[in-house]
Symmetry: C2
Subunit: 200 residues, 2 copies
């Protein structure tokens, strides 16, 4: 494998450190100086990589969302023959619930957290987040449509509307799980949605 | 009306200024110094009123939640004879949607925003938020139960579970509305939930 160019390597390191800081301290609590110190990049050279803190965070959001979506697509493809579509949806959210519970909700979905903090304040970040959410919802809608074909989810409602509902319910449940420090209410709410309300 | 004691007046002013700062800049972006400057309180005296920034924010959360819950209870009582329980639920969320859209989502539900930012990091704030959400959900559950008695909402699911689902779906929808800068998706999602999935 070719050694990455120095600048590309640094850029990646800045983004990686940025994801950690953002997840823990949010947009306003994330200082460019701390990130530069961590990656050992001189202060003046930040603007060689990114135009502004805002542009940097938008890039972080895109990178984070690409990773998460990549995992989602891979999981869906690799389990297609083993698990039913509804089983896949259960597994995706069950996995995420266990993952965030394991870190005691110190950090959860980066998109949801940043959306809550600056969703109405930065157009650049808003666009990056909105695109990410749309891609996620489109992918989940495909699984929902497959579950509708299998008669596992009611088919009197368009798959994209169901997918949007699942997204909102999941993000809101995540807030409640964070506050309560456990996944009980999230499990009840998601199960109510998937196993009762969406049943054919 | 008796003139409030100076200290009580200052305390209230600090909380009021804190609500504004928090709503706009989040927990990490809110500086005690700015708030003290705004209220014209000398730096040293902050700790006469609050033990720490964390305790201050927990107090802000309680005060904010009390106000919002007070409005909710008043609305419910004053419209009891004029609007059906389901109509009340529609009106409550319709009102909130219009209210946040009018400020272009620069600030929305303070509890949801702070929960997203530090929900897993501060026990004091977590408790204050968790109590607030429980009180809100209990009140909505009462309206849901009334709607179930009126055969406007299906009664095969406990009212408190439906109320928790509405809370999560609402908070998640709020994030999406923030990102999209309009209430379209929120309206579709809430209407899907209230008018289709929860129909008897």
């Amino acid at each position: 494998m070719a050694r990455p160019r120095r600048s590309e390597h640094t850029r990646e390191a800045l983004i990686e450190a940025g994801i950690q800081q953002l997840a823990q301290f949010g947009y306003h609590g994330t200082g460019i100086k701390q990130i530069l110190d961590e990656v050992k990049v001189p202060k003046g050279s930040f603007y060689n990589y990114f135009e502004s803190k805002e542009a940097f965070v938008a890039e972080i959001i895109r990178e984070y969302a690409n990773n998460v979506l990549g995992e989602l697509v891979e999981f869906t493809q690799s389990t297609r023959d083993a698990i039913s579509p509804l089983g896949q949806i259960r597994a995706i959210y069950g996995y995420l619930m266990a993952k965030y519970e394991a870190v005691a909700y110190r950090h959860t979905c980066l998109i949801g957290s940043i959306a809550a903090e600056i969703g109405g304040q930065s157009e650049l970040c808003q666009q990056a987040m909105s695109q990410s959410v749309n891609l996620w919802c489109e992918h989940i809608a495909q699984i929902v449509a497959a579950a509708q074909q299998d008669k596992q989810i009611r088919d009197d409602i368009p798959a994209d509307q169901i997918s949007a509902l699942i997204w909102s319910t999941w993000e809101g449940s995540l807030l409640r799980m964070k506050l309560e420090g456990n996944s009980n209410s999230g499990r009840t709410t998601l199960s109510l949605l998937l196993e009762q309300l969406l049943k054919p």
